[in-house]
Amino acid sequence: MTSGTAIVVSHDDPHALEHGNRGISNPILGMILFICSEVMFFAGLFAAYFNVRANAPVWPPSVAEVGPIAEKFNLHAEPWFAATLTVVLVISSFTCQFGVWAIRRDDRKGLVRAIGVTLVLGIAFLIGQAYDYSQLGFGLGDGTFGTTFYTLTGFHGAHVLAGTIMLSVVLYRAMSGQFSARHHDAVEATSIYWHFVDVVWVALFSLLYVLPTH
């Protein structure tokens, strides 16, 4: 039996996409396009990071260049906390998707559970990020390293915050029974946004904590 509204609605016919495509709903299509613009926003930030990094003789900047604070720049030495945050966020993407699959089968309780867990994980990420900031030992003004680090992770964190607000609204509406298998655009749109936020974090984590320095 075909389930209710998926992102792309098509007839049961296996050749549906060729002649029976009913398309993506307007709000979901709008969210996807908005995410494209967000990709370009992060593109500007990443471009700045790569540019600054490439122009530096040594990256992270050395103690000789910027003083003793440079010792704090060695994120690669202790990536474990950030790695934990990464795992938290990736799991939250899975739980979010479980919620989407649940409502597509009209499992409203499953939706509430899944979105609730996702929201908790999202908030945990934010708290973890704030804690990490407090332990780092360098600030936004500490040379180009500090500036780029905090700008990149800070704006990502802002996007996570926006995502948790969206998840809260979705959770509230789910608990009020406002979603069904046929009508749950907000769930689909929010989950797409949440996956995007997750992908950006994976890229950031890889870039800031894993990528070899020079």
Partner: protein, 544 residues
Amino acid sequence: MATTALTPAATAYRSGLYDWVTTTDHKKIGILYVINSFLFFLIGGLFALGVRSQLVVPDNKLISPELYNQLFTMHASIMIFLFIIPMLAGFGNYIVPLMIGAPDMAFPRINALSFWMLPLAGIIMLSGFLTPGGAAAEGWTSYSPLAQRAYSGMGTDLWIVAVALIGTSSILGSVNFLVTIFKMRAPGMTMFRMPIMVWTVLVTSVLVLMATPVLTSGLIMLFIDRNYGGHFFDPATGGNAILWQNIFWFYSHPAVYIMILPAMGMISEILPVFSRKPLFGYKAFVFATAGIGALGFSVWAHHMFTTGAVYLPFFSFMTFLIAVPTGVKMFNWIATLYRGQLTFSTPLLFALGFLSMFLIGGIDGAFSAAVPVDFALHDTYWVVAHLHYVLFGGSVFGVMAGTYYWFPKMSGRKLNETLGKIQFVLMFIGFNMTFFPMHLLGLDGMPRRIAVYASTAGWSQLNLVATIGSIIIATSMLPFLWNVFITLRNGEPAGDDPWEGNTLEWATTSPPPPYNFDHLPPIRSERPVFDVRHGRVADHGSQA
């Protein structure tokens, strides 16, 4: 010809203030955009008059250098961000849903939000003048280190916030346009039956969606540098002033196509109607527009040739390449006119003005694409001539053509032709008088953005001519404003289709009812209204 309206024509807009402030109707929002943008056009124009009055004679002490810098910065910022981009968005807002047979835009409330962010942003930007340091004064390009805290005050922060707000408004608008165009076309209107204006708005929306966020990221970086001790653009601490230029121009070059493509779309609608011929090479227009949009992303550093930090051959080559699709459009417009039955109404006059002036501006650009030429002409008045020929001679003339063409649809009344022709003549003469001499000034080495020049430089005469020209441009606004006033008060009723147009907006009343169409004609080509008028499609009184 049978009327296409089942009900009497909708009454002219006499709804109250509350209705206008809370409306989500794309037609009212479009009109709000147009009015707001026009007001900023006048303000930006006043700043230009300030610039020209300072430059009218050498060694002039009329305006201090500090104020002069604010004037040219705010002139450009207002014209670009608060006039031309929103003006074209406003026309798009009004016309696109009508042209595709839709009842409104995809997201009407976001549409309203997009609009109302603009007057707010304008007020924020202009409030810089009230701060101790004055408004932003480092050029609309806001290069570091001049844009850093050491050299500029709160006016710059206000400018940053305002531009970021405007950018957000644009991005939301672009999402709206794209979903509307792809998802809400009337039955029968395939992509390749859409009017070219809709295609240009489509491509423009893609450019806005993809390029504007990069500017936003740069603005944020600048704000962080200025206010939170950041080091993005500070070479002393490992940053890079050229980084700002790269990020800025990655947006601002596509921005110039954002500023011209919808105007080209308008011209592509007007020329066929006033030459009574189909547009020549419809598909070529579509592909040329897409090509311009795509190539527009790969030329940004041609604004930075002289920095020494740019891979010159790539950008020079790509810049020359863009001339090709643009040339295709130019030839196709001319081919549309060729052997047509021309009616020299005001919309056509402005369209012809567009073609000739944009051609000059485009050729200017082709010169600058050659790196050695640019090395000599960069930051001189040659560039000022080029940009005004494409933006004023191009976009503004396009907007004026669109205004005269669609005014009857929006208001139910036709603008007076005699006043329109007077405006056109004054504007055309004034424009060329102002900006043509700037080619010569640039070739003679006069730099941009200087508040004072010496009497021995030999630039006095041409500057005097340019200033007189600018006064003529300002004067040309008077017949226009008078025209709008008397037409709205007591103009001749226009009817559904005063110009014998081709596209769907002429298939409903002037102005249209809130839901746009009582009845859509069958859509079998890119000229559905033309088809019905000439009996090429039997109008069975129901939709396809």
